[in-house]
Symmetry: C2
Subunit: 341 residues, 2 copies
């Protein structure tokens, strides 16, 4: 840009930033998605963004309406062998156990405290609800955030021996950056706990708390020492999964997103909901087919199904029928994690 030379350096830089900001509606592609191999997945993302930002085309979308939603577990970060939030709950249960000697004899606590993985793998939804109640409720929201923050600072994933917040997929961070650079507002729409994810969403994904939609616990407005607090009650308030993802999107955003990314049966309705709108829409599913760099589970190539992040045959059929793009971690991603060489 010629006028740079005529400006003091800082003003030139300011103006340059501004030009990018103000012309951000135009399509920004420069070196987008460097961790993606060339192929139909990368192409689908780039072509979608080109369409919705091209004012002269018929699929142009106003910047205010450019919304993209991302599932978290298995879509933005690792969800195996168990969801990170389940790992947190288990750790918390161990921490609280000395105050609850009766847990040693009572399921589902007994299995967790004995580290009985076989029993835990068979836990029902109501088993997990009991565990969530004692580990996620009974304190103020602020206290809970502190507990999560402390755990994240010290806990490590059993396979990669790194903090859970480092197990995020670099290619997906690039997609979020690319969409944001093209005027999109990015949201996390997770079946996981909204309050849990908000603790690190800004730092890890560049997504502020108000753009995290998740499952939530009922809270009660109360006074402690004359000060108002929000107390977490042992009751689920909102289940942001399956149809709940479409409901949550409408409740929190009030607009129909143009792009959505998921990886499991809990994301199907979110993708359907988006596709039911007019114009260009991007629906993508991450398939875990890389046992070497990450994990392999799901329907393709005879991979085993999993109860954690289920990508069922039925979901694959839906994807094919509806033209959703399935991302192969193995083939589409040059690099998965930042810590890879």
């Amino acid at each position: 840009m010629v006028f740079h030379r005529k400006l003091p350096k800082w003003l030139g830089a300011t103006a340059a930033v501004c030009i990018v900001v103000l012309s951000g509606y135009a399509w920004a592609q420069t070196s987008a998605l460097p961790s993606w191999n060339d192929g139909p997945s990368k192409q689908a993302i780039i072509s979608f963004v080109k369409q919705v930002t091209d004012k002269s085309g018929g699929k142009y979308v106003e910047p205010d309406d450019r919304i993209a939603t991302f599932d978290q577990d298995g879509t933005l970060w690792v969800e195996h062998p168990l969801y990170s939030q389940a790992m947190f709950a288990i750790a918390r249960l161990h921490e609280l156990a000395p105050q609850h000697p009766e847990w040693k004899q009572r399921e589902p606590f007994k299995a967790v405290l004995a580290d009985d993985r076989e029993a835990m793998a068979k836990f029902s939804e109501s088993d997990w609800e009991v565990i969530l109640a004692v580990t996620h409720t009974g304190m103020t929201n602020e206290a809970f955030e502190g507990i999560v923050r402390d755990w994240l600072a010290s806990a490590k994933d059993p396979r990669f021996h790194r903090p859970y917040t480092e197990l995020v997929y670099r290619p997906m961070l690039e997609v979020m950056d690319f969409l944001r650079a093209n005027g999109f507002k990015t949201y996390i729409v997770t079946g996981g706990g909204q309050e849990f994810v908000r603790v690190y969403s800004q730092r890890v994904y560049g997504i502020p708390p108000e753009q995290v939609v998740g499952s939530s616990i009922l809270t009660k407005y109360e006074y402690q020492d004359g000060k108002p607090v929000l107390l977490r009650e042992p009751k689920l308030f909102f289940n942001d999964n399956y149809g709940g993802k479409a409901i949550g999107i409408n409740l929190f955003i009030g607009k129909r997103p143009y792009a959505a990314f998921g990886n499991s049966t809990g994301d199907q309705q979110m993708l359907e909901w988006i596709q039911a709108g007019d114009g260009a829409r991007l629906m993508m599913l991450v398939l875990h087919d890389d046992p070497v760099r990450e994990y392999a589970y799901g329907p393709a190539n005879g991979l085993p199904d999993s109860s954690v992040g289920t990508f069922s045959d039925a979901l694959m059929d839906e994807a094919k029928k509806n033209g959703w793009v399935v991302i192969s971690m193995k083939n589409d991603w040059k690099r998965i994690f930042d810590f890879e060489k």
Copy 2:
């Protein structure tokens, strides 16, 4: 700015806009709040904004954390003789009545259809719930939005003979503009229906749907003709009033606002919640004490209390005790509506 002369005019303008945007953290006061008389209320707003935007002071707030929340009914627009949404419900009831001949004999429908204002003034909360159920539910969200949009386009307020969306307070629009010009994100936090307010919030207040927090109806994810829809069920999902306002703020925003504006007992907890945070906080209540230009109700100067937008003596006591600023519509506002001469 010297460098303007060196740039083509459009680039200069672009850069100028950018400088304002990028330096938006600094305090922007130029001709702020023109419809406010000089006095403690205007002073409180200006002094608050000065404090939170002054990097050298001890009360500086990062732009990402600058959140301001506004009640709607009685704070941003007229709520007498009845909340506009109640007027909508009544109109809708009349419209649907021919399909429900039994309503003529059944309360609370009977009173509404007979326009029995005395009976309606005594309606209980459950009477209103019955009316809300038949007027606000049983259709998809999209259909409901269409019904609201149509009503807003034709309905007129009985006293001012103007569309309800023109009965907004100019001084409060100026406060929202002033806060936004100083890096604040403005939210509506209303006891009214979230879906109702979202229909016009962008047009009337410059507030996008995702920044409207309100009471909401339970929705269900369903398929109609193979297409997914969100069906409105006859059940309240979330009551965004009293303690619910603090809960709603936490649920939807996940940050504690620095400024909040209300006008009735349903806003008390929102103001308490905000004040319980550190640093500079601005808590304001609009008092309706201008029977000539608008209405007069509330505790001051022997004004009658009202069941619509109750400003109780107890709330006034709280305001005094906690140092909340009470805005006098009569004395603080030069002009109330845009349509005034």
